[in-house]
Point group: C2
Chain length 414, copies 2
């Protein structure tokens, strides 16, 4: 390694070295590795033709979110977390997208040919659309995350799936809500919407008209195919950057109204002041290191790419910093590609681990200048509490991971 020219190591940033000989065991040996073929081949079947599957060696799965009732109970709380520890890039595969609902595990089994969307209330022209009619309208495709407001770490959590698995990111395709509202003609004073989905308790959310006209989408497409049933098939509202619960699934009715209406979905927003209520919806700037993360094991000292996800309800992520000393000093991470507004953004940081105990942290800044707070700061913000913060919904505080000298990785929230 020492004789390499510096122009051949452009990827080596922030002082970290790709320590091939020292840390990547076989990497600098002569080419003596086993290069035999696979022991078997997967037989050709209809499955291989029509709709392919993943490898039997890939077993990454969603789990019931820590502390929630088991989904086997079909209780009202059905919270299923995505396996962020195995994530690569920014897309969450639709099969692994997180689920949050307060209405049980039952998913509406909707025939799209029979589904209708109604727009009514304070509009000039009430409208009813079939799915085929919606698909004829001008559409957009955008990358957006959705996150449950309750996606927060506690000291009992072991893995990043438990601490942060209640967020996912997909390529959403659909019609801008503004397109439909302009067709309907919103009347003077129609400053709020109630968006209702097909659910046993008629889950609905109040959305400010300004948000609806800005960037909300009614989506029929997700990651290149139809929205999945668990994500609202055939039609889901995506309210970029707003808490997950406002991204109404199985949308069938949008009513334009004159004020904020308290609905079953609004249990976390016990204020009827529209300004406070609206401000409370937005997910803060947030990030988490997904690799290495809690429960993983570093094989030994040497080079590692530290990788994670950053996002914000306030717009695009503009900066991500990483600390390897528990937040005392910070260094810029690389942001992969161009950060999209209200989308997961993959960051990476080249790191040389010397084998001693340390603590990894990440924090992000969004395009409007919001900086992700420390846990202490977040605790003060939410509770005006001091030494022992107990943060609640929308906790966007920094997640620390402690690396022991044996290479084991642990949730460092104390």
């Amino acid at each position: 390694m020492g004789s390499k020219k510096s122009d051949r190591r452009e990827f080596l940033k922030q002082g970290a070295a790709l320590a091939g000989g020292m840390t990547l065991g076989a990497a600098t040996n002569s080419a003596t590795g086993q290069l035999e073929g696979p022991e078997a081949f997967i037989q050709g079947t209809d499955e291989l033709v029509g709709y392919g599957k993943r490898s039997r060696f890939v077993t990454s799965e969603r789990i019931a979110h820590g502390g929630r009732p088991s989904p086997d109970t079909f209780g009202l709380d059905f919270h299923i977390a995505a396996p962020l520890q195995d994530s690569v890039g920014v897309i969450t595969p639709s099969s692994l997208h997180y689920i949050g609902t307060t209405r049980g595990a039952y998913v509406p089994d909707i025939d799209p040919d029979k589904h209708r969307l109604m727009i009514h209330g304070m509009v000039d022209r009430p409208l009813v659309f079939t799915m085929e009619e919606l698909k004829r309208l001008p559409s957009v495709t955008r990358l957006h995350f959705i996150e449950c407001a309750g996606n927060r770490a506690n000291r009992r959590h072991t893995t990043v799936q438990e601490t942060h698995g209640m967020t996912s990111c997909a390529e959403w395709t659909g019609v801008l809500l503004s397109t439909l509202l302009e067709e309907a003609g919103v009347q003077e004073g129609g400053d709020w919407l109630v968006v209702e989905g097909v659910e046993e308790v008629k889950g609905a959310s109040s959305i400010p008209m300004t948000k609806a006209m800005d960037d909300c989408l009614l989506c029929y497409g997700m990651n290149g195919e139809a929205v999945r049933p668990q994500q609202g098939f055939p039609l889901r509202l995506v309210a970029p950057g707003f808490e997950g619960i406002f991204n109404t699934k199985w949308v069938r009715r949008i009513k334009v109204v004159d004020q904020y209406y308290m609905t079953y979905n609004d249990f976390g927003h016990l204020t009827q002041d529209p300004v406070n209520a609206a401000l409370g919806y937005q997910i803060g700037p947030k990030s988490v290191i997904t690799c290495p993360s809690g429960g993983q094991q570093l094989p030994g000292p040497g080079f590692y790419e530290v990788s994670g996800l950053a996002w914000s309800g306030g717009g695009a992520v503009s900066r991500v910093e990483v600390s390897t000393d528990g937040g005392q000093t910070w260094m810029d991470a690389d942001i992969r590609g161009t950060a999209q507004r209200m989308a997961h953004t993959r960051f990476s940081f080249n790191w040389e681990w010397d084998g001693s105990e340390c603590e990894l942290q990440s924090r992000c800044t969004d395009e409007i200048g919001q900086l992700q707070p420390s846990r202490a700061q977040a605790g003060e913000f939410f509770n005006q509490s001091g030494s022992q913060p107990r943060v609640r919904g929308q906790d966007n505080s920094i997640q620390p991971w402690r690396i022991e000298s044996d290479g084991s990785v642990h949730n460092a929230i104390a």
Copy 2:
């Protein structure tokens, strides 16, 4: 509709009108649509928790590519086309990604813990990597299409799946090939690579070193999870913009060599001149309208969003034009989001169909100024043939769709 203010119809471009009352049947009726709940709910099961599924009403599937032997025969040609007629956005779901192989339907069933990548030949330090070692290296995430050189329409094809289904686009994550080659230290005169996969006939491709050092990726991630077995699990070379066959699957060996080596994969490149051979690899600027497309049915005159995909091996798509009169006049389409280099790019065009017979076409221009040719031009280029062009591999000519007055859509290649 006539009374609507023009500032409320910003989305109505290029003279097309969203003719709600006239064309979208129920859309301007009063809100009398059926708004009853679904007839049933999908029961909660392990499948709903761990790894979700699509709706039973969504049945879009890949098909054996037209004219090829049935995959049931397990013949050498196994070409499976993606259902582009149902595509939304730019991501192809991994389950629907096209497959092209000349080696049969059998997919290597590889245990990633046992898999190795060897880099050897004209290098200072031969290297062998495990998958875990590769994943510790600096990685990138990029959107790239892959396309079979034989992805071309003929007059027997009915649907866009048949004419253009041998291309797909995914979010790929992996290590830059240049990172590994710099570690190995390429020796003077090592101007070519042979990249070999785990296959019964040891499929391999020759790649110029300039391409390898520019933007080739060794990918372990695809659309947010592990690369699928049919796409090369656990490791695939992505050579952006090069013909599909150069994107070697199940990669186990990369040998640095001094010249172009003819391999089984190179049947289409019967030249040993490196410059000609390399130039012949690159996919031309290409586009196709996916909706409306062959076999679809327009319910009647009125507003439609014309939507399609554009891509080029020469870089990012910079412009897409649509013609509704068989190529006599052209109008700019909207490009959705920011076009990525060597990636599918979704375009759309707002169109008012008057109910008369017409012919839709699209053509794209890429960032280096290449314009997609007409079928006649492509025929001349490939064969110096005149009135009856018979184009072969890498045909990137314009695809015309004829709309009959009854709303039926047909392949207009004569």
